[in-house]
Amino acid sequence: MKKPQIFGLFAEPGRWQRIAFALLPFVLMVLVYLYFSDVRLAENPNDKLLPSFTQMAEAMERLAFKPSKRTGDYLFWNDTLASLQRIAIGLSLATLAALIFGINMGAFNGLFALGNPFLTFIAMIPPLALLPVLLIAFGIGEVGKVALIFIGTFPIMTRDMALSIRAFPREQIVKAKTLGASDLAVVYKILLPQMMPRLITALRLSIGSAWLFLIAAEAIAAQEGLGYRIFLVRRYLSMDVIIPYVMWITLLGFLMDYGLRLLLRWRYRWYLKG
């Protein structure tokens, strides 16, 4: 008997088939875009809605490789750097806070009783509704944007940490105690190392919403940043800038996710195998 390769419940597509299948939707998307873009541009060469790839490349060349006339900066790289910096600071702080608060809340029932109801409440606040508050409180500098990313991602990650510690096999904690661990040693030498891969997973899931909050904050008040640029050029209907920027943001998000996945595979084999 030969297993089917593509169709049916028992199909086992080969390596190249899987790669081809993965690429297929992307290729289709590009083709569909090119077709409609061509149709519109043939009708009106000044159409801005669906720019051709050449137009996008020209726009990006201007932004990425030629200094801006007004400030002398390379805008694209400036924007990228500013946005990445905000995301990195916001997510790092949120991850660190989730680790410390989540682990202690999950491990110590007293702290859980203290923190969990409040955190559940905080997690329900739509972070974007807080954006005006943050802008008023912290001004239009970096702090407000970082704070939004933090507030948007920290409660969910913390809750995930706390709840997964509470679902942790009790046996391991008792075992560690019989091996002479103090309460703090159980938390920081037994639970914390085992929670790291879980934290990385929670962080991966938070990357998407971190970008959402960043773009929103930059759209409203900023002088630079990927989100700022998109909303700035929107006034001139510059789809030739917006589309590459969106692709770039997507790529950055994907690379961050991929990097964390590699980290998991490299450092935490026991987690993936266990």
Binding site: P169, R170, E171, Q172, V174, K175, A176, K177, T178, L179, G180, A181, S182, L184, A185, V187, Y188, K189, I190, P193, Q194, Y268, R269, W270, Y271, K273, G274
Partner: protein
């Protein structure tokens, strides 16, 4: 040998449900005490009480003449699963007790050469020195349990508790590990409290066999209204002569199994609490007037 574990008049209740009902037990140092019973008899609860993971509703539990505290180094434990820490290598798992006791909680890099040597010694004792740098998920179930035993032994616990440690293993590995555990028990002079639901295992391993069961009667009336929990319904002395699996074919061994099956596992066979077969010299029983009218 002195009395190591002493349990007097212990009750354990969850809500209205009585799980352990007036348990009396003394275990002497060096004993290999096996506990067997049908599911729901409270044997795991008894183990958790001794371990300090739970507190008795009534009664006292003493280890080395001191009231049992929350889990600490006075007891070692080997579980069926979850004994090993998956993020640590075999060697790190075995040395962990030393690291946790001597190292500070905030210092993840604490290492001590002598401790590592000691851990290797114990790994040699369980014949796993070759696997020192592997992770638990790379080992078979039997090897994992051997590591778990080494991990507990390095702390030299006064009493080693084992909760169905071989329950998830295939029969061959299981038989191997039983013989192997007996060897360790003999050489290291361990005191072991071994909980299992397998009568053959219990009879084969122990020097003393306790049958814990909820199937018995007393003077508190019949039916559900009595709300009885598990009791030690039999306490046998086992002769530990041969350390080979051949005893299992022995007719006396088969007889004993039959007897235990009747004493503990047969819901129809209800022995009265005053007639329990408690022939071990350390065995004692304090019945309340309600349980046995002639007692007081």
């Amino acid at each position: 040998m002195s009395i190591l574990l002493s349990i007097v008049d212990v009750y354990k209740q969850y809500g209205d449900k009585v799980v352990l009902d007036n348990i009396d037990l003394r275990v002497r140092q060096g004993e290999f005490c096996t506990v067997v019973g049908p599911s729901g008899c409270g044997k795991s609860t008894l183990l958790r009480l001794i371990l300090g993971q739970e507190t008795p509703t009534q009664g006292s539990i003493e280890i080395n003449r001191k009231p049992a505290q929350l889990p600490d180094t006075n007891r070692g434990i080997v579980y069926q699963r979850y004994s090993l820490f998956p993020n640590r290598t075999v060697l790190e798992n075995v040395v962990l007790g030393k690291t946790l006791t001597e190292g500070r909680w905030w210092d993840p890099f604490y290492r001590n050469k002598f401790h590592l040597e000691e851990a290797l010694y114990y790994l040699n004792r369980v014949r796993l020195a070759d696997a020192a740098n592997k992770y638990p998920h790379e080992l078979s179930g039997g090897m994992q349990q051997r590591v778990a035993i080494a991990q507990a032994l390095i702390m030299k616990p006064p009493i080693l508790l084992m909760d169905e440690p071989f329950g998830a293993l295939d029969p061959d590995t299981r038989a191997d590990l039983q013989l192997y555990l007996l060897e360790l028990w003999e050489k290291e002079g361990l005191t072991i409290f071994f909980v299992t639901h397998d009568m053959h295992e219990a009879c084969f391993l122990g020097t003393r066999l306790l049958v814990l069961s909820q199937y018995y009667s007393d003077d508190r009336g019949a039916g559900d209204s009595a709300n009885r929990g598990g009791k030690i319904v039999a306490d046998h002395v086992l002769s530990r002569k041969a350390t080979s699996a051949e005893v299992m074919q022995d007719s006396r061994f088969q007889q004993l199994i039959q007897q235990i099956r009747q004493e503990g596992f047969d819901p129809e066979h209800l022995q009265h609490a005053k007639d329990f077969n408690l022939d071990h010299p350390d065995s004692f029983q304090t019945l309340l007037a309600s349980e046995h009218k002639d007692a007081s």
